[in-house]
């Protein structure tokens, strides 16, 4: 993967410290870019390694959804990032249609960060109980915070702490 590749919707390109290319893609053109990366000869990123998200300590910075792609055939890696401003609704298109493995990965990102993936077939929590409130990896969710209401209802105890 060269940094000059014309990924559709690419906003800018960075090179990570380990030499891997990071391409920032506009949120509304994510599906187009991903389809291009998967199906264009010479790209062929046929394996979605991971989907995760980052919220920075600096609240002004947007949240990032990060996709790790790998081409098993070409033995090449690429990282795709989508920036989502924290003020707007946190939603991005699901890539479940391209890689079925995105199913649980996107559900985990939703569970931990509250980022919705439009077009996902089963957008619900994967690790925490269904009735849980809040998304624990967000910066406004305290490290010791728990959903005491859920605990009281389902366990019949005052608090889990």
């Amino acid at each position: 993967m060269t940094s000059s590749s014309p990924v559709p919707g690419a906003l800018r390109t960075e090179v990570a410290r380990d030499g891997e290319t990071i391409v920032f893609v506009a949120a509304d053109r994510l599906l187009e870019a991903m389809t291009w990366l998967k199906e264009t000869p010479g790209q062929e990123f046929d394996y979605l390694v991971d989907v995760t998200a980052v919220e920075f300590r600096d609240r002004e910075r947007p949240l990032e959804v990060v996709y790790f792609l790998r081409s098993l055939k070409r033995r090449a890696d690429i990282r795709i990032k989508v920036e989502l401003p924290a003020t707007a609704e946190l939603a991005v298109d699901s890539v479940w249609g391209l890689w079925r493995g995105a199913d649980w990965l996107e559900r985990e990102v939703f569970d931990m960060f509250g980022i919705k993936f439009d077009g996902h077939p089963d957008m619900k929590r994967i690790l925490l109980p269904d009735g849980w409130k809040g998304h624990p990896l967000r910066k406004d969710y305290g490290i010791l915070q728990q959903d005491n209401e859920w605990v009281q209802i389902n366990l019949g105890i005052e608090s889990g702490q």
């Binding site: 690790l127 925490l128 109980p129 009735g131 809040g134 624990p136 969710y141 490290i143 010791l144 915070q145 728990q146 959903d147 209401e149 859920w150 605990v151 009281q152 209802i153 389902n154 366990l155 019949g156 105890i157 889990g160 702490q161």
Partner: protein, 206 residues
């Protein structure tokens, strides 16, 4: 036979019988039987379960202490051994398993996480299983070595042997779930919770 009140010797015969209180005799007989044939229900969720398996296997072999049969069904178990951390999502499960065990029943909390939450003081983890089920013996360690668990089991033996069958205070009241699977009455739940979902008329208890 520490409860033996006296021995009597009848003339011309050897002292071949003992006198003891009936209650003490029954306590001794029943509690020894219970303590020496505990059937554990393993509830292994983390690395403590590995040490638990080591305790059960041939090198340490807790079958020596009467735990010959591990009951993987709560209906045939006497002692619940929680080996490992307990997330909130599993807490209703262990409570249900505990409810399904027939009395008398005991609980061993194995390891730092089961006893206090350990290092996992965060959004997902129960800070000590004694908030969910009553615990008889806490085994410290991260994870405890098999010797530690064996010591805990022997302490439980000691505790069982000291119990009295005639003390009604020590019997535990069962608190099973109601038919909706709730532990609190629905009014209480609606009081402490807010409406959720798309409708303001939708409540947690329904």
């Amino acid at each position: 036979m520490k409860h033996v009140a006296e021995t009597k010797e009848i003339s011309g015969q050897s002292p071949n019988y003992l006198v003891a209180k009936f209650q003490d005799l029954v306590n001794w007989a029943v509690n020894s039987s219970r303590a020496n044939s505990l059937w554990p229900m393993p509830f292994g969720t983390a690395c403590c379960a590995i040490e638990f398996m080591a305790t059960a296997a041939s090198r340490f072999d807790f079958a020596r202490f009467g735990m010959e049969r591990q009951a993987f069904s709560p209906r045939q178990a006497d002692v619940l051994i929680c080996a490992g951390r307990l997330p909130f999502k599993l807490a209703p499960v262990i409570r249900r398993i505990y409810d399904q065990m027939p009395q008398p029943k005991w609980v061993i909390s194995m390891g730092a996480c089961a006893s206090t939450g350990g290092v996992f003081d965060n959004y997902a983890m129960v800070q000590g299983i004694d908030t969910i089920v009553p615990v008889d013996v806490y085994v410290p360690g991260c994870p405890p070595r098999p010797e530690g668990l064996l010591y805990g089991i022997l302490l439980l033996h000691k505790k069982i042997k000291g119990e009295s069958l005639f003390d009604a205070v020590k019997r535990r009241e069962e608190q099973p779930l109601d038919d909706k699977g709730l532990r609190l009455p629905p009014e209480t739940i609606d009081e402490i919770s807010e409406p959720f979902g798309n409708s303001v008329h939708q409540f947690r208890s329904s």
